[in-house]
């Protein structure tokens, strides 16, 4: 770990967050409209104007040059732009890239933005562009991305005795959090038996083990810690982050039960100078129910193989021992193709104490973890309030 990377601890802060309209926005509204809506709201939250933005960080499956399209729509001319595209984890990565760019003087006020109308556009997950590069997986008909996560779940069950009931516990906990969040897309009762008896998508995962397909977007404003202190909302300081990229295709993942979150988490904790035992709340990219189980293990909240037991008996649900995915997650709140920005927004709201009925009691230190591709990219960020500096 370089000295300079550690020096980023607490040097930048999130000062504005907002969601766009979520769920099913209906015909006529574009992904860019959602980006614009979230940006206006996030700027208002930050007490800043569009003219303050001089850094832009975005990714999209809707346009091939997302930074250019977004800058044009918003009418901004950023002097620093970053279109890092690691799937759903991109926006957590953007957070760290923004902190580094601000510290280096490359920009002062960074906008991270995302919008998607994939539900209104007809359902299926939007892939990033046409593939002119041969796939060694597609000819066999995997139902991606679900089948990749199904293969990981099957292997985890085989090696560690993890059960379908334990996978279902993740979905049930997410639903219980969603019931406390008025923005959550689904609020119906959900039991372990409901999950198990739902339509099988790719064994062992049923449709209730899979994330929602919704519209939605968000915006996050980042600036220097110095400037953050002059703005209206309590800053959410970026204490550390770590990125790790091991592969793209699931067939190239060496061990399906161990993700690159092992590396990203270690890097983030090292920079932040804290450990899993210090974290008050956790936002994990739950595209599928196996994800939180893998990430809780790989980030050090429990030992490898014990994730299934860890999530059982309501331990990650409201009132449990560790608050996980307090907005209802991608499973029950919102999953607009890429979810990463929304888990950052929820972490900030919890740190500020703005989370309403779902507010957790202790909320000084939050971990937000993004996943991209097929368990491919892992990015961990640790955020804290003033007391954690």
């Amino acid at each position: 770990m370089s000295t300079s990377e550690r020096a980023l601890r607490g040097r930048a802060a999130i000062v504005g967050v907002a969601e766009s309209s979520l769920g099913e926005v209906g015909p006529g509204i574009s992904s860019l409209d959602l980006i614009g809506q979230a940006t206006v709201r996030a700027l208002a939250d930050a007490g800043l104007s569009k003219h303050d933005i001089d850094g832009l960080f975005t990714h999209s499956a809707f346009f091939s040059q997302p930074v250019l399209t977004t800058a044009e729509y918003l009418g901004i001319r950023p002097r620093f732009a970053d279109g890092t595209a690691t799937g759903g984890s991109s926006f957590v990565g953007h957070l760290w890239h923004a902190a580094a760019a601000i510290e280096a003087g490359l920009c002062e006020v960074a906008l991270i933005a995302y919008g998607s109308t994939q539900r209104s556009n007809g359902g299926g997950l939007v892939a990033s562009g046409a593939a002119l590069t041969r796939s060694w997986e597609t000819p066999y008909g995997p139902r991606m991305p679900a089948s990749a996560y199904a293969l990981a779940a099957a292997r985890h069950m085989h090696e560690f005795g993890t059960t379908r009931e334990q996978l279902a516990e993740v979905a049930v906990a997410a639903r219980q959090w969603a019931k406390l969040n008025p923005q959550a897309f689904v609020q119906d009762d959900l039991t372990v038996d409901d999950v198990l008896s739902s339509r099988m998508v790719s064994s062992p995962l049923t449709v209730r083990d899979c994330c929602l397909v919704t519209d939605g977007g968000g915006a996050v404003i980042v600036t220097s810690a110095e400037r953050a202190r002059d703005l209206p909302k309590p800053p959410a300081y970026i204490l550390g982050a770590g990125e790790a990229t091991w592969h793209m295709n699931i067939s190239q993942m060496p061990d399906l039960t161990t993700t690159a979150a092992q590396d990203s988490g270690r890097r983030a904790f090292d920079i932040a100078g804290v450990g899993p035992q210090d974290i008050d709340l956790v936002e994990l990219y739950d595209a599928f129910t196996i994800n939180p189980i893998l990430f809780l293990e790989d980030l050090g909240f429990c030992a490898k193989g014990e994730g299934g037991a860890f999530v059982s008996d309501g331990a990650i649900a409201p009132g449990g021992s560790l608050p996980v995915n307090t907005n209802g997650g991608g499973l029950s709140y919102c999953h607009p193709g890429m979810y990463g920005i929304l888990l950052v927004i929820e972490a900030v709201r919890q740190l500020r104490g703005e989370a309403g009925a779902r507010q957790v009691d202790r909320h000084s230190l939050a971990l937000a973890h993004g996943n991209g591709g097929t368990l491919s990219s892992q990015v961990t960020a640790i955020l804290g309030d003033e007391s954690t500096l």
Binding site: E137, A152, H158, S203
Partner: protein
């Protein structure tokens, strides 16, 4: 039988392109992979450098076509026959995605032994697929 095709970055051409050579072997019913001359790593999917050590001294080898199921998932599209997508660890030390058929319709399990067959794919090269191997 094509043999002794050697790929290094300077000899890269339409004829030696890694994907093309793989398909030529497949057309002869051979599942081929690359073996690194530097570190002996078994390389798949085909490429022009070793993902383990980085050298470009890669030699094509025929696989015996025997492997073990590392993981498997069953996909049951509405109104169609269910099928199994699996990750296969070949005995030579490389992994690939494929499909496995059990013949009698029974489920494919992790650690099952499988062997390669080739399925015609129209104008494309035949596709390596796997069947359960009972006695081994």
């Amino acid at each position: 039988m094509i043999d002794n095709v050697h790929t290094d970055v300077e000899s890269l051409s339409a004829e030696t392109a890694p994907g093309t050579v793989f398909d030529q072997y497949a057309a002869e019913g051979v599942l081929a992979y690359q073996r690194c001359g530097g570190c002996r790593h078994a390389v798949f999917p085909p490429r022009v450098l070793c993902p383990s050590c980085g050298c470009d001294d890669l030699a094509w080898q025929p696989s015996a076509g025997h492997g073990t199921v590392y993981s498997a998932t069953v996909i049951a599209p509405r109104g169609k026959e269910p099928y199994t997508v699996a990750l296969i660890d070949l005995d030579e030390g490389f992994r690939m995605m494929s499909t496995v058929t059990a013949g009698d319709g029974s489920a494919v399990a992790i650690d099952d032994h499988v062997r390669v067959e080739f399925r015609p794919a129209g104008e494309d090269a035949p596709l390596p697929v796997f069947v359960l191997e009972t006695a081994r």
